[in-house]
């Protein structure tokens, strides 16, 4: 009865993964910066996760799926926007990382921002991906350092330094508020 086994496997996958769909989508949206692209990447990541579902062990399902979504995002960016690719597992110095930010945001766009909060939102979007994902996972997904390290595949020390650099960059840019 092959179809019963398939249905059970799929149903179990949906029970484990779908509760974290909003978190998965939000991470993809922050990394791709586009609604439709984020949805495509999450769908692709879910199919990928389903293929490897046999290797999933009971535990932190949110970190597990976010890790796969994050990887799918970077694969997608590499295929579709190669100019934005930055090294993932190595850290440039604080200034080097900031300078390597994709030029998606120009100075005029920043000056035109009307509210401080909108300005801050755009500053977050302009962070280089390794700093952006660290701040999003910490402040918006409320993951702890150990979980962020798990999702991003770097040591906890690197998570700490990325968060520190992300905050320093945001404070510098968020004039008069930091």
């Amino acid at each position: 009865m092959a179809w019963i086994g398939e249905r059970r496997r799929r149903s179990r996958f949906e029970t484990v993964v779908l509760p974290h769909l909003d978190a998965a989508y939000a991470l993809a949206r922050w990394l791709t910066r586009n609604d439709a692209d984020a949805a495509d990447v999450v769908q692709e990541a879910c199919v990928r996760a389903f293929r490897y579902f046999d290797s999933y062990r009971e535990g932190d399902a949110k970190s597990w799926i976010l890790k796969i979504v994050r990887r799918a995002c970077y694969d997608w960016i590499e295929r579709n926007r190669p100019a934005e690719v930055v090294p993932l597992e190595t850290d440039a110095g604080p200034e080097g990382a900031v300078n390597s930010a994709p030029a998606a945001l120009d100075a005029n766009a920043l000056l035109e921002s009307r509210s401080d909060l909108r300005h801050l939102d755009r500053l977050i979007e302009a962070l280089p991906p390794p700093l952006r994902e660290a701040i999003v996972l910490r402040e918006l997904h409320e993951l702890d350092y150990r979980q962020i390290a798990e999702v991003t595949g770097v040591p906890i020390g690197t998570v700490m330094s990325r968060l520190h650099r992300a905050r320093a960059t945001l404070r510098r840019g968020w004039c008069g508020k930091g």
Partner: protein
């Protein structure tokens, strides 16, 4: 506690990553230090700003059904997933079947021979 000990770990304090006892020591220092106090206040303002500024991205309603559909298509393309059973299980099942068939056959023969040897009245 000295500023030099506190400053490098302000982020960890803010993120609730310090042990309870250490966190209490930090709090004491931050309440009284004219340099570190404003520093943690600025970090807290930034955190508050980030949480208010960031859009609350939610998965669109149709994404859930798109994913369910993609998963069904995926299982249809890989029908072997439902059949996967460990080798020993398949072996045990075949042994069981063999025993069942064997014993059933034996019983048939036995019944038959009992019937044949029934005393006739």
């Amino acid at each position: 506690m000295q500023c030099e000990e506190v400053r490098p770990r302000l982020d960890a304090y803010l993120d609730g990553e310090l042990a309870e006892a250490e966190s209490t020591l930090f709090r004491g220092h931050l309440e009284s230090c004219p340099d570190c106090g404003p520093e943690i206040a600025a970090l807290e303002r930034l955190r508050d700003g980030i949480r208010r500024a960031a859009p609350d991205y939610r998965a669109p309603a149709e994404l859930r059904s798109r994913i369910r559909f993609a998963l069904r298509r995926e299982t249809a393309a890989n029908p072997s997933w439902g059949l996967r059973a460990p080798g020993w299980l398949a072996y045990a099942a075949s042994l069981l079947l063999a025993v069942a068939v064997g014993s059933g056959g034996t019983r048939l023969i036995t019944n038959e021979s009992q019937e044949n040897t029934m005393p006739t009245r």
